[in-house]
């Protein structure tokens, strides 16, 4: 098993992806890893990206399932909402009523939905060659990896830009943030909704995978405009 790199500083993403490419043994993984990873020094303005959001029945990939997937391709200059994709899928474990209201996806939507296996090829085709952008990578990446592993034997892991972790760098890890914490101020919320508010982004009626993917793409554009620059290399941002 090849371990995913831990921190972006010494990020071994190029090495990791190269290893995965040569080790890939299933059709899906071979196809996905055959797309070369963008060089780590590519300026963010040149990076084709895709914002991804998954709605799940819980937080544990092994116990919970994916119910919907939203994808929005974008670049630093433009979000191609006209190329967005959205699927509702049927998780292997039944949907418990508690999460129904949370997701706006109902039992009847799901009853008619396909298993995620049926959309995996199409989904990975959109992700291939682009950098995936998520808000909180510890949901999207492991859930997708696990779902693929269950169905196609070999999981898929890739570098992502995590807008929540970019937000945490400013509001949790900066000197100012540490100082604020030291004097007892509550930390700023880095949830998607609160983060967007700081950049003057509008309030969306959230919790739909597509709207959240759009919201994430917009947030990254705002973060780069305020905290970074179009020349910022990918290696600074991915994790």
């Amino acid at each position: 098993m090849i371990k995913a790199p831990k921190r972006q500083a010494e990020a071994g993403w190029p090495e990791y992806m190269a290893q995965r490419q040569s080790a890939a043994y299933t059709a899906l993984a071979k196809r996905y890893y055959s797309h070369p990873l963008l060089p780590a020094d590519t300026p963010i303005s040149d990076v084709p990206m895709v914002a991804m959001d998954l709605e799940t029945t819980g937080l544990d990939p092994k116990r919970h399932g994916i119910v919907s997937v939203g994808l929005v391709p974008f670049t630093l200059n433009r979000i191609y909402l006209n190329q967005c994709q959205y699927w509702v899928v049927r998780p292997r474990r039944p949907l418990v009523s508690k999460s129904v209201t949370f997701h706006h996806v109902t039992h009847s939507d799901i009853a008619q939905a396909p298993d995620i296996d049926e959309i995996l090829d199409e989904l990975l085709e959109v992700l291939a060659g682009k950098i995936v952008v998520v808000h909180y990578r510890h949901i999207e990446r492991p859930f997708l990896d696990y779902a693929i592993k269950q169905r196609r034997k070999e999981g898929i892991i890739f570098p992502v830009i995590d807008t929540m972790s970019l937000e945490a760098r400013i509001h949790r890890q900066s000197m100012l943030a540490r100082f604020r914490r030291w004097i007892g101020r509550p930390p700023a919320s880095i949830r998607l909704f609160d983060s967007r508010k700081r950049y003057g982004l509008p309030l969306y009626q959230g919790h739909n995978a597509l709207v959240d993917a759009l919201a994430t793409a917009e947030l990254l554009q705002a973060q780069i405009a305020h905290q970074y620059s179009p020349e910022t290399p990918l290696s600074v941002l991915w994790s």
């Binding site: 433009r78 909402l81 959205y86 003057g200 982004l201 597509l210 705002a222």
Partner: protein, 632 residues
């Protein structure tokens, strides 16, 4: 359309011109959208950039500049920009910058052009040739074509109905119980009946007839019929009805023709109510014609003062019926003139016949037939030249006082500038008036003219009209020959300038400053009326009404082609805006004024007003150049 993008679609559906689109068209737009974020201070559109999209502001604020860098407009959530470049297929002439952090939706050119092609309202909103302002004004006109009030407006409730087998006594009970004055008779449907309808329980009925209060007297009591008689035996076989979309006028004629006082009102074959002659009379009494005749018949000042609320009611009704600003202005001026005339008649009754001939001269908005609901009195007396102050002035002074106090009591407050016949200067023989006007025109001086520009809207109201007509003639002939006079009038008309437009809940000035309200009279209507007056004087027009003045200006080469039309539309747009806001105040029991709060201005109205301000602003620039101040 994926339900998931409702977020985008619903947002656009709240703003012009998208609000007018069908659901399918909105879906098409929402599905085509691209998005981008712009940090405050960054450029969104650069000069001469080639455009491929219409720009829609999802959140934030944008400043649009002229080529020279001067602020053109400030736009907020739901506003669009870039349409002019797209329509003209030319590069960006008005660059744009994010004023706050801004999220833009980009709508592809193809989609935009397609919408312009298939949707007239959308096209009107964005189009250059037929400006938004014109299309809004034409909308006012269109609703004005429907000026005929439909009879259904007078129907206040569902009719009382009884079956044909009901006894007349029971029918009478029903009428009494519902405090009605007639009842409709229904029966099981028979083949070939005209009036078959189904009730809420899907049962079919036919409408057989109507039984009214007076039928009980003429057909039952007078005939000695028993209280047990079924209603079917007393109703006639001829039923006269009116369709709900017929005009009030038509319904009234129908009653007269058939000599009936009750009319069942039908929506197709369903009875929806009954209209009585008194409903129509009550309705007609709110009409301006009725009010005028009522004014002219009042025996006392007190009686006249009691009619003041009726003026407001008439105004409200005109607006509700969709009258345009000329109709409203005309009606209110006629009403104002009627008050004036009746007060003078009452004064003559009190003081005896006038010792010499006189004419009461209206000035300002009344003279232009553009009076509004918020107005003070502006009048003067022109006396015959055999007037001798020693002998006659007591009479006219008393008359002026009766008039002025009376008008004040009737809701036309005293003139703050003291332009009233009670002022000795403005109660003079014709020869003195001629001297006044000659001096104003031949020895112009902007400061002095500032207070007398009101005298250049003048019209006779009562008495020897010919006196005032002579003065109108004098002004029309002399004014055009005196460029210095025109220049002075022109300069005064530039003292008040329009704002740039609106931004969120503020009025935006040309220097970017914000205000909470705008006085639409001071900042729009008055300077526009002033400007039209200067051009009218320059072309020797005798007209007093601004629209008629524009017609006269049109006959000359004074203004470039199309300019007078734009001025006409701007005047109509600003007038209607003021009228609607005043009607809104009245309906909320507030005192109407000339101030408009941007919060209450709809999105379309904002754009229309902005266009009107722009027309005024351009016309003011031209005026400065057309009538230059010359030094002598």
């Amino acid at each position: 359309m994926s339900v998931e993008l409702m977020e985008v679609r619903q947002h656009m559906a709240r703003f012009s011109p998208f609000e007018a689109l069908t659901d399918e068209q909105l879906d098409e737009v929402a599905e085509s959208v691209e998005v981008a974020y712009f940090k405050a201070g960054t450029d969104i559109l650069e000069l001469d950039q080639v455009l491929e999209h219409l720009y829609y502001i999802r959140s934030g604020a944008v400043e649009v500049y002229r080529r020279g860098g001067e602020l053109h407009n400030r736009l907020g959530e739901g506003d669009i920009f870039g349409q002019f470049s797209l329509l003209r297929h030319c590069p960006v002439g008005y660059p744009a910058k994010a004023m706050e952090d801004t999220l833009i939706y980009f709508i592809p050119d193809e989609v935009f052009q397609h919408l312009c092609k298939i949707d007239n309202i959308f096209a009107d909103f964005v189009e250059l040739q037929r400006s938004r302002m014109e299309s809004t004004v034409d909308q006012y006109r269109k609703s004005n074509d429907m000026l005929v009030t439909r009879i259904r407006k007078l129907v206040s409730r569902y009719p009382v109905m009884v079956e044909a087998s009901t006894t007349v006594q029971e029918a009478a009970r029903q009428i009494t119980a519902f405090q009605a004055s007639a009842v409709l008779i229904i029966d099981a449907p028979s083949p070939g009946s005209r009036y078959i309808f189904s009730d809420s329980e899907e049962r079919f009925w036919q409408l057989r007839g109507i039984l009214t209060d007076s039928d009980f007297r003429t057909k039952i009591v007078a005939e000695g019929l028993s209280a047990e008689t079924p209603v079917s035996e007393v109703i006639g076989d001829r039923l006269i009805t009116v369709q709900s979309d017929e005009s009030v006028q038509e319904a009234m004629l129908c009653m007269l023709r058939n000599n009936v006082h009750h009319l069942p009102v039908m929506h197709r074959r369903n009875p929806i109510g009954i209209v009585h002659l008194s409903d129509i009379i009550r309705y007609e009494t709110q009409s301006s014609l009725y009010l005028v005749s009522n004014i002219l018949n009042q025996p006392s000042v007190e009686g006249l003062a009691r009619l003041a609320p009726d003026v407001t009611a008439t105004f409200t009704r005109l607006v509700e019926e969709g009258a345009d600003s000329q109709m409203v202005g005309n009606a209110l001026s006629t009403i104002g003139r009627s008050f004036t005339r009746r007060l003078l008649e009452l004064a003559e009754e009190e003081l005896g016949p006038p010792p010499v001939a006189y004419c009461l001269m209206a000035l300002g908005s009344m003279a232009r037939n553009e009076q509004g609901i918020v107005t003070d009195q502006d009048n003067a007396l022109v006396l015959a030249d055999d007037f001798d102050p020693e002998q006659h002035d007591d009479y006219f002074k008393a008359m002026a006082k009766i008039l002025s106090d009376g008008l004040d009591a009737c809701g036309y407050p005293y003139c703050k500038g003291d332009v009233m016949a009670t002022n000795d200067r403005w109660r003079q023989p014709l020869s003195v008036w001629k001297h006044y006007f000659t001096e104003w025109i031949e020895e112009p001086n902007p400061e002095r003219l500032l207070h007398s520009s009101i005298f250049f809207d003048l019209d006779p109201v009562y008495g020897e009209n010919v006196f005032v007509e002579e003065l109108q003639e004098l002004v029309a002939t002399k004014a055009r020959q005196h460029p210095r006079f025109l220049a002075a009038m022109g300069r005064n008309s530039l003292n008040r300038t329009p704002p740039l437009g609106f931004f969120r809940t503020f009025v935006m000035e040309k220097d970017g400053k914000h205000h909470n309200t705008i006085n639409l009279k001071r900042r729009g209507l008055a300077p526009l009326v002033d400007l039209i007056r200067v051009h009218a004087l320059a072309c020797g027009s005798r007209a007093q009404n601004s629209y008629e003045r524009l017609d006269d200006i049109d006959k000359t080469q004074l203004l470039a082609a199309g300019v007078s039309d734009r001025l006409r539309y701007a005047l109509e747009a600003m007038s209607m805006s003021r009228i609607h806001h005043q009607a809104f105040s009245v309906s909320n029991d507030e005192v109407p004024d000339n101030n408009i709060e941007p919060e209450l201005v709809s999105s379309t109205e904002r754009h229309t007003l902005k266009d009107a301000f722009q027309v005024l602003s351009n016309a003011q620039k031209f005026l400065k150049f057309r009538y230059p101040m010359t030094s002598r």
